[in-house]
Symmetry: D2
Subunit: 287 residues, 4 copies
């Protein structure tokens, strides 16, 4: 079924998304971005009112709670944006602030934060893990094959990354904290470590990837690593590696954030597009 | 650290477990079973009192709530068994009835049901999935390589089974119900189906494995399957396949329960042993 | 393109092949076998003369150099069979004796021995390796996952078998004799051993598969194996394991020959059918 | 056993090799390169005479048939180098010219060209394939997961590369020319194409890797590729892709040579070191 989309605000990711939706045959209008031949709505009101699905940017707002639309001269509050909503529409966006979510809720507006969706996170684990793998390839002078790699944390990214490393022939250890994760790590054939008991275990690694959202690699642990070891932190701020200590110790250290968009922007946009479709299928009163 | 174990009641699985514990150097007494050279306790009371860890059978009780010890002439209530408990012991057993759990709780006895533990289930997913694979190999006249296989359900067993089938070169489809599972199925590279919308999708399969704990393959769906298709139901009672319809339709059908113990008893016992060790490490006041 | 086939002599494998060729829409006549509704040629002469491709059995001849057609009362020499040949035909068969090959050659008859073809052997490595895996599953009380497996020889079957075992989570060692094989074994991520220097290396294995066509596992080496070790010999006669010694030592030993036909007859016949098609495409003067 | 090595001429690869040999405890002298603390021989004569194994560079000679030692002021003919040989030595080097090989042979000098060794090539297939994978990751805006990849040629690098791509979740097609290769491609689970019949098959690919040492991707075939397709040629000169046509068509094209040394120099040197050890074990009269 062909739908009417408005893609509003944001950056190149929104532009790419708008083009992908149009390639699928949907009618797409943009506002606050420039997506080649796609028509621009003359005003925010028209952009919002005429669409069945309004795609807001990631993050939805910038400082001051204003709509995140850096390419526009004008500024808009989220009250203004949602004020143009008409019945049976679906709004989607990334990192929706709580007050905006409440505002939508109070006005019976369907507003879905895709960043909160488990399926979006799972799908992004693939480009994240591939991105981490690419960084490791670029920043070592050895093959992944035969390398001794440690993945800290066995969440979504840890799970995919461990699989990729093993598939390339690395000797993979994974550390976790839960009995269930230990069982899975074992069932997948990796060596299993306890994230809380890494002392004395680190001198043997060629590359260490942190995916756990907590300070794990403190100075004491970093000191154990061999000087040629590569450390890649995939945890969002504040990160799981003592960066100052890593620098002082002269370790090769990378803090890798937003890998999908940086390393595989096409796939990142395709994942976002598919997630929008899934949301519409679930919520879409107009379908 | 060497511990004193009592292994009480049950069948060959308990005997094997007792021997494995002894092989690890622990002091092991048995009661109600016969494990070769291992000493038998002269009475239930001595069996329970003298041990640090008491391993009850699976299931812990038989009809009437009595201790499951078919090789004994005498019968014992669980009140009697737990009545011999002394401080700082750990009791473990499989499928502990609720009243027994309450009784233990009321008397401050540590009694852990390993069947309820997620890590036990995950570890058993490997022998379950291997067992299902072996059954499929035995009951088809073709290689798994190149076969078109459907795995219904993406829980623990579904996840391991899909991986094994793919590793052997089957073309694997997995059906599930949750967006998150869909995302994982895709991320692992399988074809993804919706368990609620299997109509019209089944004529192409050579083998179908049900792991979902619900009636999925009703008569209507079974009718779609090609006559040579093998159907293996891994769901515990009441199962997920209409067995009467499968029989009427002349399909090759297997209801495969308790696969770890049947297909790989050594590994099943080793998993149980390791789970007992994990429980002791978590609960063991005597450590 | 639809062709005229005659399938002559042999056993159930030829009957299955005849049916598969017919299912692909070819015109198929049989002689000396019974393949359901497929028409039987009234005589050997008509069977041979009227076909574009004549499929002889495996082996082509039985003792005395006669056509291998045990279901016939009459006996035929290969001179008689080839005597009915007409121009532009293709004869295929398995294990063609040298004198028969010479006879065909002298009379300008295209006669191809599929057993000699490398692609036939490679394709059969898959059902052979799967069959060996199935035997190992059936004859051990443990999962392949976690087992320590040794594959002796890194030819076609060794290569596929090692991959299957590793995919299921076995810890795989492969022994070979050539530097090139050592390099491949390493590149695929297996532990590498020298087939000529296995002494002292065997006590650690749970399962050993011999694929090398030579006596490798003599009494001295067999004595090293743990008593519970499973030994499967995949080498054709005279085999690579000292069977008497294995029996005396009480080892679990299987000599597994003709695995594709026994464990996956459908796939074995499909491989034969595809090989016949490849031969016709290469040789078929009538195409 | 500890040996006396001389590492003579060449570039950074020889220096790295010299250091690796020293790390293994061997006595290492260098000539014509600078490897940190390792002692330099005062003259070519002493460098050659005192060693058990002399490691010549790759390529052994530069224009004029002179020893390839760009960091030296002086020039040496290969006659001079080999003139210092003493009995029971092993010379190794890469790309030994035929006249040098003949000269060594005539003087009963053991001179082995490691580039000619099959095991050296197999081991290098891993860093070559990983390097190609890394280039593909760096030069596309999508994940390898889900990409449609074509590998042309199923030699050593093709075999490893196809496996890596499939392990990362690409949909892999492999093209070859031989029936045996077709059978292997099929047995490994890839889609199989004929390198001689690629017409009409190319519009669907996201990335194409040529490993065949022949002009395959001519202008006509390149025209079929989608504009966003990445083409990586791994064939040594003259390569297998019409580079002018690729440029004219605006395709993203990379001619990737010497990948092991460029992308994973440490692993490349380790492979060379291990090959030297293998050669010594086979040839070493002094062992």
């Amino acid at each position: 079924m062909k739908l009417r989309f408005s893609v509003i605000g944001g950056d190149g990711r929104q532009e790419k998304l708008a083009r992908m939706l149009a390639e699928d045959g949907h009618s797409v209008t943009v506002f606050g971005i420039d997506a080649g031949r796609l028509p621009k709505a003359p005003s925010l009101g028209e952009a919002v009112r005429d669409a069945q699905c309004i795609v807001l940017p990631i993050p939805v707002t910038r400082e001051g709670g204003l709509l995140n639309a850096p390419r526009l001269q004008e500024v808009y509050t989220m009250e203004e944006v949602l004020g143009f909503a008409t019945p049976r529409q679906v709004f989607v966006g990334g990192k929706v602030p709580q007050d905006v979510a409440l505002l939508a809720d109070k006005n019976d507006i369907t507003l879905v934060d895709y960043v909160e969706r488990e399926d979006f996170s799972v799908r992004n684990a693939v480009p994240s893990a591939e991105g981490a793998l690419q960084l490791a390839m670029e920043n070592t002078d050895r093959t992944v094959f035969g390398s001794r790699a440690l993945v800290i944390g066995y969440g979504r990214i840890g799970r995919v990354l461990a699989r990729l490393l093993a598939a390339l022939g690395a000797r993979v250890s994974v550390s976790a904290r839960k009995q269930e994760d230990f069982a899975w790590i074992e069932a997948e054939g990796y060596r299993q470590l306890d994230t809380r008991k890494l002392e004395g275990k680190l001198p043997e690694f060629d590359m260490v990837f942190n995916t756990a959202p907590a300070m794990v690699l403190n100075e004491k642990l970093l000191e154990e690593l061999p000087p040629a070891c590569l450390v890649i932190d995939l945890a969002s701020a504040p990160g799981g590696v003592d960066r100052d200590a890593a620098q002082t110790l002269g370790l090769k250290f990378l803090w890798a954030l937003g890998l999908p968009g940086k390393m595989a922007p096409h796939s990142a946009s395709a994942i976002l597009r598919d997630t929008v479709y899934h949301i519409i299928r679930e919520k879409g009163v107009f379908l």
